[in-house]
Symmetry: C2
Subunit: 421 residues, 2 copies
């Protein structure tokens, strides 16, 4: 399948993020206007909240679902509606649309450059995994030893932990450097201080679009995923080191998790499906691969010191994951955990096998021992105040690109005094 | 303060759970009727959804908040409204009420025996702590050694991890024994099997009633807590043992967490405030005790095999906690984590210093090495199919009792085959 042509010319750029093949879902506003559900096409956003209210494009005949403003109500309608709605959008925006349709779509759309993006969906709960093998190997090598880098369970289950939905924010939101309890190796007692080892984690987020209420198979899990976003799981490594034994990361991961503003649907990514890597141990039946359920998506991390140009500090690919999101979701439900529409599953940090493919500063600077040199000549072991971190992602097809928009955040200095009373 | 007398005679029983001093908040239905917000008084439930709709008892002059049916919208109104509403209820139900008021309250109330209870609030997110010292010591002694039972951070921060809000259920809900990935010490590889070491955890749950958006002090945290419930954090010990390194418990805790149906407000518990235990290390300033913020609440666990009488297997007290819920909530917010109305914080398992005070079967049977003998003559190391576990709690005042209702669940056998496809 090649580029699907649109009458909106900017959507036909083979390097553009938002061709007719993509049609990702977001929430936008213009000026002081209301938040509205929108669909990206070329350099414009189609105002589907407006089209629904006008009776022109309805996902559900009886109830408004795009007025919320978030995509959860739409997701609730299920895969048959998702497919019909995508078809309807492709008819409106495809080359075959007549003049009246085109005029209507221009009326009900805005230039992307004029819009501010908001959270595209209400996060029900957030789970973060640790399912990239190179990342787990690097971290295990640093903190334990390379011979025993992976914990014994790692090759048998996608290790994950519950995160905090309330801290998920959309790209563009500033992130305040956290305070936390830290203990230096050379001190006997901990102290309460701003984090000194604040880091990024390059991840993909999978969004659950169909609820379940008991164990689901990998096949069912695949069908229940609505779409994907880029995800930066900001991590305070020094808080984590002190707190994480025995029950896992808590405040180290509670400051913020940033996602890209556009939900790229599973339908748009269908041409990019690929297999997980070869298995060292055969997975147990309930987690076995059921066809190609990962995706070939190029990913990059850029870091820009305040007021200076960005340096690309890592490039990798989503196909480096050891477990697919479908396997993670299946594992998540094994003990009967109800999964809900709007649940967000972070893939875990995505690193490739070589040094420039590492998806965190912890790995890139090897725990601070090998600081990176940026294009500006400055060095970085961890994030400094004023740094902007931007993740980007693109699936590259034959004559077209599926982009995600960027996932960016600027780190502000810690508060001088965190407590008012 | 002694018993506050009500004209509803059953509310004046010094051993009764629901005197005028208590007035806990729940959600109930009768027969095929709607779910409604209710207040327990003696052996009746006051239908405050009905009283609000009739304009007789309004928390907010302009908007219905008790029609949801859950107490979140009411909590959103804040502490001044909470206090006024409690005063209004005490006026309606106190001895001084006139005949007309009494008739009205009889009309807008039902016998508790006729009602089915539902989840009293929508759980925004669920966090479980590990903040009972005797429990942490017991578990650490069993899995590590008594000399190093507590992890190094334990006496400095209330260790916690994020749980799963979607799995929180109300008392009376059956709990299905989970399947999970397990590895026996005598096997090289894991297997997917029903849990064989399914356990209970006796806890209290604190409910956040005021949202916050950055670090909050222990004082602020205390003010932000709306009330308390009993909480049983069902735990699959064998799943936990295999999965929990390095990122903490996940599927071991995902099957269900049961809470009691009545939110006992902080106002009702005010006479029972008590101090946390003496400190071995002084806490850092941001976590320091700010007056007595724990509560003196007697707690008990009963276990009944299917069709047989219950045995009380443990008795302890909430005052055994090392950290108060206010300290837990303050710690939860240190890194800037937004906290929301409806967040539920599990205290962690509450065990006392002696064997009959242990709040889990893991501790009571010492990992299965010392099975308990029930009054029926049967023994238990962990929960067996058909067992009903019931938690109860009571704060005992001078001539009155503040009860919580019971927190009960029956464990059903694991599914024969968990997957349909």
């Amino acid at each position: 399948m090649g580029l699907m042509r649109s009458w909106i010319e900017t959507a036909n750029d083979p390097e553009g993020a938002f061709p007719l093949n993509n049609l990702p879902y977001g929430v936008f506003s213009v000026g002081d206007g209301d938040l509205r559900c929108g669909v990206a096409i070329g350099d414009r956003i189609l105002d589907v909240t407006g089209l629904e209210a006008a009776g022109i494009l309805r996902a559900d005949a009886d109830a408004d679902v795009l007025d919320a403003p978030f995509w959860n109500d739409f997701m609730e309608l299920g895969p048959a509606v998702w497919a019909r709605f995508r078809d309807a959008l492709q008819a409106l925006l495809g080359e075959g649309a007549d003049e009246t349709t085109r005029d209507l779509c221009i009326t009900y759309s805005v230039p992307m450059a004029d819009a501010v993006m908001h959270m595209p969906f209400r996060v029900s709960e957030f789970t973060d995994f640790y399912a990239g093998r190179h990342h787990a190997f690097n971290v295990g090598s640093m903190f334990r030893d390379p011979a025993n880098a992976l914990p014994p369970n790692w090759l048998h289950i996608p290790i994950g932990y519950n995160g905090r939905a309330s801290s998920v924010v959309v790209s563009g939101t500033d992130v305040r450097r956290p305070w936390g309890q830290l203990k230096s190796p050379d001190h006997d007692l901990p102290a309460f201080l701003p984090s000194r080892r604040f880091d990024l984690e390059l991840e993909m987020g999978a969004i659950v679009g169909t609820a379940s209420d008991g164990p689901i198979s990998v096949d069912e899990a695949f069908d229940n995923i609505f779409g994907y976003v880029l995800l930066n799981d900001w991590s305070a490594r020094d808080i984590q080191a002190w707190e994480y034994q025995p029950l896992g990361p808590f405040q180290a991961k509670a400051t913020a998790t940033t996602i890209s503003p556009w939900i790229v649907t599973r339908a748009a990514l269908e041409p990019f499906r690929c297999d997980t890597p070869e298995r060292e141990f055969e997975l147990l039946d309930h987690l076995k691969d059921r066809g190609p359920m990962l995706y070939d998506i190029d990913l990059a991390v850029a870091l820009a010191p305040k007021g200076k140009p960005a340096t690309t500090i890592a490039r990798t690919n989503y196909r480096e994951m050891y477990y697919s999101a479908a396997q993670q979701l299946a594992h998540h439900s094994t003990a009967g955990c109800p999964m809900r529409v709007g649940d967000l599953l972070g893939s875990g940090t995505i690193s490739g096998p070589t040094k420039p493919e590492r998806g965190s500063l912890l790995e890139l600077s090897w725990g601070g021992k090998e600081p990176l040199t940026l294009d500006t000549g400055e060095t970085r072991s961890f994030i400094e105040d004023g740094d902007t971190v931007t993740l980007t992602g693109a699936a590259r097809g034959d004559g077209f690109t599926i982009g995600f928009g960027s996932c960016a955040g600027t780190v502000l200095p810690a508060l001088d005094a965190p407590y008012k009373r």
